[in-house]
Structure formats: structure tokens, C-alpha cells
């Protein structure tokens, strides 16, 4: 008996709009700090803080702490796991969107 084809499952961790915006931004640059993400995504400080916590906990983003002069700077970047997850998400979405009417 032939296997029933199934609709691909979307990664909900990435698919959430706020996190998707942050991940898309981090995919375009090598790294960015909290303030840059805050200003560029337009999310509220609280929301961004929660989303970054979730992304970090899932291992999709990594943190780098450095001292610039006497000021500490924490910047976020996509981890290798994050890059792979985004690639998979993109493929899934492309295959789903291909079924949409033009």
C-alpha cells in the first residue's frame, strides 16, 4: 500500500511573527546587539527580551559578550543550529507556498 503523502510540518518556534522577524534580520547580518534588534524590528523591549530568551534556549541564536572601552556589549548572532533550522524552514515554506494559487 502506498504511503499517504503528508503536508510538511512548519517549525512553530521560527514561524511566530516576532521571532521570524528577528531571525530574518540576524540572517542578513553577522551580529547585532539588543538595541539594534529593538530599533530595527520595532518590537517592544519586553517582547523582544522574551523572544530572544526562547531563541537562545532553543540554540538558534548565540550570544557574544565583549568589552568596548569600559562598556560591555552583548551581541546576538545565528548559531549553526539556527542556520540549519532556517534552511529547513525555508524549504518547508517554499514547498507549502508552491501550492498556493498565483
Amino acid at each position: 500500500m502506498a504511503r499517504q503523502p503528508s503536508v510538511p510540518e512548519v517549525d512553530v518556534l521560527i514561524h511566530e511573527p516576532a521571532r521570524l522577524r528577528v531571525l530574518a534580520l540576524l540572517a542578513m547580518v553577522e551580529g547585532a546587539d539588543f538595541m539594534y534588534l529593538l530599533r530595527t524590528t520595532g518590537l517592544s523591549r519586553g517582547n523582544l527580551s522574551v523572544q530572544m530568551g526562547k531563541l537562545e534556549a532553543a540554540g538558534l541564536v548565540s550570544l557574544e559578550r565583549e568589552l568596548v572601552g569600559r562598556r560591555p556589549r552583548t551581541s546576538y548572532s545565528l548559531s549553526e543550529t539556527g542556520v540549519q533550522a532556517l534552511r529547513k524552514y525555508k524549504q518547508t515554506m517554499l514547498s507549502l507556498l508552491a501550492a498556493f494559487p498565483d
Binding site: 534580520l25 542578513m28 547580518v29 551580529g31 547585532a32 538595541m35 530599533r39 517592544s44 556589549r73
Partner: protein
Amino acid sequence: MASAQTLTETDLFRAYWDDGLLDLLGGLALLVAGIGWETTLGPLATVQAPLWIALWIPLHRKIVEPRAGFVRFSLARRQSTTHRLAWTLALGVGVFVLVAAVALLARGETVQPSARHLVAALPAALVALAAGIAAVLTGARRFLAYAVTLLAAGAATVLLGLGPALPLALGGLVATVSGGVLLRRFVRAGDAFEFEEGA
């Protein structure tokens, strides 16, 4: 800020220069050069110009970065910018050497008055070229507007028989005012954003 509909790394890079600090410093360098040239120092007044540009990094860290945040662009983008910046700096040094040489040439008594007027417009034309390169480097179109201003002022120098200092001072004034307005707007927006978000 770049449109969310067409957001690319290029848009982010262009927005990175929207604070106006570079315009302000470059404008002040030109303004002081123009005024200094006209008053006492002559072509030597251009020597101070690189000092203003050198202030960009510390002032960017002090004023812009805490409000705009920090971003590290891709390695390819950084390498391309460094490469272009090196060429721009080399061109900048060349421009100032040429400006000084042209000014000395214009003072010579053997030069025809009509040729002297053309020579007097050269500094503005050379700085306009540098502004055009800045437009390519940063992707900010307002640098093209500064270049056009300098070229127009240079043309007026030829037509009205003015000295080389006036177009420099005029171009510098336009960039200083524009940069000042942009920076003030940027700082106010940043402070308001910080207050609203931090409340």
C-alpha cells in the same frame, strides 16, 4: 529606516549612515577649510580636514551607537567597505594635495586670468568627486546632493570670477546644516525611543 517590504542587507547598510554624523564632520572640515583659506591661511587651511573625519569613530561610539545599537555586517560587506574606504582615503589625500597645488598655481602671475578662474573651481570639483564616492560607498543619495552643490558653486566661481574658498565654504555649510539637522533628529528619536521603551 528601510522599508519592511524590501528589507535587504543593503537597506540596513544604507540606514546605518542616516544619523548625519559623517555629513556634519565632513561639512565642518570643508567650512573651516573654506573660511580659513579665505581669511588667513590660504591652501594650508585644508590640512585640518582629515582631523574632523578622524573624529567619526569615537563620536559614533559615543553618540550614535548607544541609540542605534550595534550591528556587524557580513564579512563580504566589511571587506568591500574597507577596500573602497582605502581607495577613498587615498583619493582624499590626493584631492587635498591637488587642491593645495592648484591653489599655489592659481597664485602665480604667469597664469591667465581666465585660466585662473577655471583653476579656482577645481578644489570644489575635486571635493565634489569625493562626495560622489561617499554616495557610492554609503548608498546615501544626499552625498550626491552635496556633490551637485559643490559643482554648482564651482561653476559660479568660474562665471563670477571668485576665489576657490567660497564654493568650499558653501558646500561645507550645506553639509554641516544637513548633518546637524539629521543628527539632532536622530538623537531626539533615539532619546524618545529610549524613554518610551524604558518607561
